[in-house]
């Protein structure tokens, strides 16, 4: 029996290789064609997650609200006031915490997008990017009622609506690009190294304290060396939250650097995340 050259045979018959990674434009086009899968999955996940609770969908806002109440108690009542001189504390805290939740949830759920859906990845073939995309879409769905509740709280505590509120959606679009990029990078890293899952909660906690949710970074670091403030302001999450606070609350600091960091981080993370995730497309679900 002679050795058959199978690869040549396939070439002659014009058969493409199965499971080969598509070029990026074709990949993104298929992603777009299948976007309904991501949105439906996000919606159903929220429903399924809450269906067994008596209060159902209310938990989407109740949970971050109660968490901010805990932080409000600790940092607003127990800690000295000098860390947040002159802030209208409750709107300041709730704005920061809600926006930070959007980031931290995208990061956490994004990291679990592939490893938490192994059976789905192993049984059906679709662009894997749909899973982290769906994780971020889910957070967007949850953000909408949170923003409505936030508006009620702001008005209740004397921060009245102004034209500047209209800037919030633009900042949120930038932040969504950033979150999506972070989710994609985290999703791939967890596939390579499961240990990343252990580090993510710690990283999230660290970022939360470095972002200044319940104290003002600017005031806490006022008597520290200059470079510490520079580093703090290079943190994109800090800048997104600062911009939103600037738009929603009165007397908030504003620097050009915040805008620059926000825009640059959004663009860089968005494209880098897509590229980074796509290059490993064939690996997902393999081990």
């Amino acid at each position: 029996m002679t050795e058959i050259d199978y690869a040549a045979l396939a070439r002659e018959a014009g058969l493409p290789r199965v499971g080969a990674r598509q070029p990026l434009p074709a990949y993104l086009r298929e992603l777009w064609d299948r976007r309904h899968f991501a949105t439906k999955l996000a919606r159903y996940r929220i429903e399924a997650n809450l269906a067994q609770n008596r209060l159902g969908l209310l938990w989407v806002v109740l949970n971050p609200l109660l968490q901010s109440a805990v932080y409000g108690l600790v940092f607003g009542v127990i800690m000295p006031r000098s860390t947040r001189e002159g802030e209208n504390f409750i709107p300041y805290l709730v704005t920061g915490f809600f926006i930070f939740t959007y980031f931290s949830q995208s990061f956490n759920q994004g990291a679990r997008a592939i490893t938490g859906n192994t059976s789905l990845v192993r049984s059906l073939s679709f662009p894997r990017m749909l899973l982290p995309l769906s994780a971020v879409i889910r957070q967007i769905f949850e953000l909408v009622p949170m923003m409505a509740v936030l508006a009620v709280i702001l008005i209740g505590f004397g921060e009245l609506p102004s034209w500047e509120w209209l800037a919030v959606p633009f900042v949120l679009v930038l932040m969504t690009m950033f979150n999506f990029g972070v989710a994609l990078i985290a999703a791939r890293l967890t596939v390579h190294l499961r240990d990343v899952t252990q580090i993510i909660p710690i990283l999230t906690r660290l970022l939360m304290y470095l972002t200044g949710i319940f104290y003002s970074m600017e005031q806490v670091l006022a008597d520290k060396p200059e470079w510490m403030m520079t580093v703090a302001q290079l943190n994109p999450v800090h800048d997104y939250i600062s911009l939103i606070r600037y738009a929603l609350l009165t007397d908030q600091p504003f620097t050009q650097q915040m805008v620059i960091v926000s825009v640059v981080a959004a663009i860089v993370f968005f494209f880098a995340g897509i590229y980074f995730f796509w290059t490993a497309e064939e690996r997902y679900g393999r081990d």
């Binding site: 058969l15 199965v18 499971g19 159903y44 073939s125």
Partner: protein, 244 residues
């Protein structure tokens, strides 16, 4: 093998590895943390399988548990990247597996929608086929319950019904005929035969020699990750039976 019909699937010297976590004796060959994860063992599931499949053939795949049949199916469907070798196919092969898990927390109805979308249908296509899918599965009264409340047979029937709702050119069926009761099995076998007439090529993995003999024109016998025999159903099946 006739040269007249077109090849639809070419499998070229396919090797597949799995990385798994092992403990006890298997984990004893410890390596440094940075070099490689400790306790990870590589399982060589397929060791160089090659064959060519032509249009209109229906291929039975047999072998003992753990011989690599399901791995072969998954890699033909493009769900595993080969360690070496490659699979070529005329169009993207679709895998119908009873293991194709959907999401247990969601109702059957939601899973019909998700499964359909994951197969590449549009939402309106899924809507229009929803009734057919539910009727075929025969579990209409439970369709609003979460899937984790289903018995394994019910869940497998629903998954199977979702998967076959779409026409495929190359179809891979993994033990699907073994699920469900007698009526459902008869219904699925009929559906598979229909699909084979539309589809160019069908692969069927089964432990039931009767359904292999009934539906296949050629049989592959996979043993310990290698292709042990390839040929006429009668010959291969009788050789396989003798080996036990």
């Amino acid at each position: 093998m006739t040269e007249a019909s077109k090849p639809t699937v070419v499998v070229d010297n396919l090797h597949i590895d799995y990385k798994t976590f092992a403990s006890g004796k298997a984990a004893n060959d410890r390596r440094a943390l940075m070099q490689r994860q400790r306790g990870v063992r590589v399982v060589h599931a397929l060791k160089g399988v090659s064959f060519v499949v032509h249009e209109g053939e229906s291929i039975g795949v047999i072998g003992h548990n753990g011989s690599g049949k399901s791995t072969l199916m998954r890699s033909i469907a493009g769900l595993h990247t080969p360690a070496r070798g490659a699979v070529y196919a005329a169009s993207r092969p679709a895998l119908l597996g009873v293991n194709a898990a959907l999401i247990g927390d969601l109702t059957g109805d939601r899973n019909v929608m998700l499964g359909g979308l994951a197969l590449g249908m549009t939402p309106s296509e899924v809507e229009s086929r929803r009734d057919d899918i539910v009727d075929f599965s025969g579990i209409r009264e439970f369709i609003d319950l979460p899937m984790k409340a289903y018995s394994s047979g019910m869940a497998a029937r629903l998954r199977f019904s979702i998967a076959i709702s779409r026409d495929h050119q190359i179809l891979l069926v993994d033990e699907a005929l073994a699920v469900g009761d007698k009526d459902f099995r008869a219904k699925s076998e009929q559906r598979i035969r229909d699909l084979r007439e539309q589809a160019g090529t069908v692969f069927l993995v089964s432990h039931s020699m009767r359904s292999i003999m009934d539906t296949c024109t050629r049989v592959l016998w996979i043993d310990h990750g290698t292709l042990k025999m390839d040929g006429d159903p009668k010959e291969v099946v009788s050789a396989y039976k003798k080996s036990r």
